[in-house]
């Protein structure tokens, strides 16, 4: 079976990186706060784009709200000015929901670097958590593909057991979980 992981110094390495991709091998011009100067990013992952379907569907439904209220005659019961303000406020909340949905997907990422694994999470608007584990601390890597959609679109969870402070890392709903697990296995074997 051919090696999935090729040493970062190898001329064979190929970069695959696009702005909205969920699986970026040897991404260029990206980084994170705690990255060392000589540390190279081998793989950057975020959740499979299909995960976005939930907030996109809800946003589309919410966009129809004012039209439905108008069709039901609710606005006719209100004094002048209220329908316009309610409509604007409705679209404002809808835009916030969509923006949050997108940003949460885009900025919650996982990195596999030459030094280890990094999980970056943002939650509660102003909190962030960066979990890191060195490659030599990785003990076990398992992956699961769940459900019809996961099997069809080839995405799933990759669980990494470590001897670091944080004993378990879970890369949720990432594309090509088998390939991710293989890359991690290859890296830990070489380490």
């Amino acid at each position: 079976m051919p090696d999935v992981f090729v040493s970062p110094n190898s001329p064979e390495q190929k970069s695959s990186h696009s702005r909205f991709s969920s699986f970026n091998l040897y991404p260029k011009n990206i980084g994170f706060e705690t990255k060392d100067d000589n540390e190279k990013i081998i793989l950057m992952l975020r959740q499979h784009p299909i995960i976005n379907i939930k907030w996109i569907a809800v946003t589309l439904l919410l966009l129809t709200g004012p039209t439905i209220l108008n069709a039901l005659g609710v606005f006719l019961l209100l004094p002048t000015g209220f329908p316009l303000v309610i409509t604007l406020a409705w679209y404002l909340v809808t835009s916030a929901y969509a923006i949050e949905g997108f940003l949460n997907w885009y900025f919650n990422v996982f990195f596999i670097t030459t030094d280890g694994i990094v999980d970056v999470d943002f939650f509660n608007l102003i909190d962030k958590r960066i979990s890191e584990a060195d490659l030599d601390k990785i003990q076990d890597v398992t992956y699961t593909t769940k459900g019809v959609l996961g099997t069809m679109l080839n995405y799933g969870d990759v669980q990494v057991q470590t001897a670091a402070e944080i004993t378990e890392f879970k890369f949720e709903s990432v594309p090509n979980p088998e390939k991710v697990a293989k890359i991690l296995d290859d890296l830990t074997d070489k380490h």
Binding site: I30, E33, L84, L92, I99, Y106
Partner: protein
């Protein structure tokens, strides 16, 4: 009739309070984006900041619209 008038004034005041609180939320979103772009360098700083400031500007617009129209 006076009671009805007072009710709508109360609703207007409540709407303005809610929208003022929303302004704070919109401002926090801009801080959140700043934190995200400072933590991760993904080459998406400008569009992410644009989204956050667009949302804040929209919130300010709705607040003033409510203040003037209601």
């Amino acid at each position: 009739m006076t009671t009805g008038f007072n009710t709508w004034i109360l609703i207007k005041a409540l709407a303005l309070v809610l929208l003022a609180m929303y302004l704070i939320f919109a401002f926090v979103v801009t801080r959140q984006v700043k934190l995200m772009t400072r933590t991760l360098h993904l080459g998406f700083d400008a569009p992410a900041k644009f989204l956050a400031y667009f949302h804040l500007a929209f919130a300010v617009l709705v607040f003033f619209a409510a203040l003037i129209i209601l």
